[in-house]
């Protein structure tokens, strides 16, 4: 379980102090898939970075499974069971997809186990396992590999920051299935997705709307989703896709 209490994050830029996250109180219980939505620039990605430890809050606290991790390093949080898929994945010259999956799993994954994670995100495993995670991969391929590394971690809390960004329509169908599968096998873990895709919101147990750094409202999917339809917080990928995929 993740608990954010009075969490704040300010930055100093030339225009003066700017509050990006303002007094956020949230609980993400185990066995839930929670989607955070809201307008662009509202502080959603910053919140994910604060939870993963990439940014340090200027106020408030973060507790994970009862432990205060507000000041814990990125590494310590990862080891405590937090996984984080970047919105813009990083490229590495020389590191192969297999190397990255092995680091993520924290053990010497055999090829067939590594391939399962790639297949889960719709990549033909044998074509990718030995590829370098470098500029030869497209944005969409890289994004799917990023998601596969989070799957390989098998973490207690998996955070996905706009997993659909840069992914083509066919893969988007696949991505929804990935999250549906994760939801089905959730057991004692939790999933936090930042997205304003209606199809992803539809998989959520709970939806939180963040605007101007604050929690605007939160509640069950059935309660919140109808209020978002037609707004920037619940965008359709494509009508055809929503009706069951490309013909």
């Amino acid at each position: 379980m993740l608990e954010l209490q009075h969490l704040s994050f300010q930055v100093n830029d030339p225009a003066g102090e700017k509050e990006i996250v303002r007094d956020v109180n949230l609980t993400i219980p185990d066995r839930e898939l929670v989607v955070i939505t809201g307008p662009n620039g509202g502080g959603k990605s910053t919140l994910a970075r604060l939870i993963a430890g990439v940014e340090t809050p200027t106020g408030g606290s973060i507790r994970f499974n009862g432990e205060d991790i507000t000041r814990a390093s990125v590494t310590d949080r990862a080891r405590a069971g937090i996984a984080y898929a970047f919105q813009q994945p990083v490229r590495f010259k020389g590191l192969r997809v297999l190397d990255l999956l092995r680091i993520a799993a924290g053990r010497k994954l055999d090829i067939s186990a590594a391939c399962e994670y790639l297949s889960a995100v719709g990549l033909c495993a044998k074509d990718y396992i030995d590829r370098e995670v470098n500029a030869s991969l497209s944005g969409g391929e890289l994004k799917r590999i990023e998601i596969a590394t989070v799957l390989a971690r098998g973490a207690k809390l998996s955070i996905f920051d706009e997993p659909e960004a840069g992914i083509d329509l066919w893969s988007f169908q696949n991505l929804i299935q990935v999250f549906e599968n994760l939801r089905r096998n959730i057991r004692d873990s939790a999933i936090l997705i930042i997205s304003h895709q209606e199809r992803i919101l539809a998989v959520a147990d709970r939806i939180i709307v963040i605007q101007e750094g604050r929690v605007l409202r939160q509640g069950s999917r059935d309660e919140i989703l109808p209020t978002l339809i037609g707004t920037a917080s619940a965008v359709r990928a494509c009508r055809q896709a929503d009706q069951g995929g490309a013909q």
Binding site: A52, T75, A78, V90, K93, G94, L95, I103
Partner: protein, 308 residues
């Protein structure tokens, strides 16, 4: 075979991955003299009579054979210049593993300068691997200055893998090549320098024949106070293709100078140079840390991958 001591055997493992006497032809040089040698039916190794060094002659059509010519130095103060010539016959296809390991526990410099000349007859193919390695706690420097000269006839090809990862204080590598029509040269250099080490790598490649090509790629890491210079010149004197690339990571107070040199003397010469020098991207470190590695472990993974 002359008895080698433990340190010499360790150096041999480092530079030539030799755990015992190699198969095929070989010449093992230890502290300035030949410690072991073997020729085969197709590959003859003989000592030069006018200066230190060997002549290696590979018969035309020799396939799938290898030559190992490692050098180990464990005597502080020893300085040597060795001249090795390789004559590779028409359509031969061989692997040549060179390499030099120096262990210097004394206070005097130990230095090996290997002057290697390769003469590739038409259609010959060589894969050449050269590893440098230094160890020892003495104040004396470990110095290696290899010179490689390639004369490549029509449609011959050479792949060179140069590796220097640890322990060499000072190195000046010079590689000169002249390629005739259809000849192909591929160089992959991997280099890491530490402390106050200095490594200079100079290439001068002349593409003289139609359809000749050269691809020189260096990946390097400069740590601590070390200095590297990568100076690669390709002359396009005919319709040809040339590519040089220097891709480097700098850490601590390391310094790197990349000097591109392309000269097109023919309108159909296509020459490209790429160079990128920078520190490890913060995002790369953070990504690996979100997978559970410490910052130091993340750095190690990134560098190992980069130099693989």
């Amino acid at each position: 075979m002359k008895q080698l001591d433990e340190i010499q055997l360790r150096l041999l493992r480092e530079v030539a991955e030799l755990h015992s006497v190699p198969e095929g032809a070989y010449n093992i040089r230890a502290n300035g003299e030949s410690a072991a040698r073997a020729s085969t039916a197709n590959i003859e190794i003989v000592s030069k009579t006018d200066k230190p060094g060997i002549d290696v002659t590979i018969k035309p059509g020799t396939k799938n054979e290898s030559v190992h010519i490692p050098v180990v130095l464990t005597e502080s103060g020893l300085k040597e210049t060795v001249y090795n010539d390789f004559h590779i016959g028409r359509d031969a296809d061989v692997v040549i593993v060179a390499g030099c390991g120096i262990d210097n526990c004394g206070n005097q410099d130990a230095q090996h300068d290997g002057i290697h000349r390769f003469f590739l007859e038409p259609g010959a193919h060589v894969k050449y691997v050269e590893k440098h390695y230094g160890s020892g706690s003495g104040r004396g420097k470990r110095i290696l200055n290899p010179v490689t000269e390639l004369t490549m006839e029509e449609n011959s090809s050479m792949e060179m893998e140069m590796v220097q990862i640890k322990g060499v204080d000072d190195t000046q590598r010079t590689t000169r090549a002249e390629l005739k029509a259809g000849a192909k040269l591929v160089v992959r250099e991997r280099l890491m320098t530490h402390e106050s080490q200095r490594a200079v790598s100079v290439y001068a490649v002349a593409l003289n024949g139609a359809g000749s090509s050269a691809d020189l790629v260096s990946r390097s890491v400069a740590r601590d106070d070390s200095y590297q210079k990568f100076d690669a010149t390709i002359l396009g004197n005919a319709p040809c293709q040339g590519h040089t690339e220097c891709d480097s990571i700098i850490m601590d107070r390391g310094r790197i100078l990349a000097v591109p040199g392309l000269e097109a003397n023919c309108v159909d010469a296509a020459l490209v140079h790429e160079a990128a020098i920078g520190k490890i991207a913060g995002e790369q470190l953070i990504k690996l840390m979100t997978l559970g590695l410490t910052e130091a472990e993340a750095e190690e993974q990134i560098i190992n991958g980069f130099l693989k």
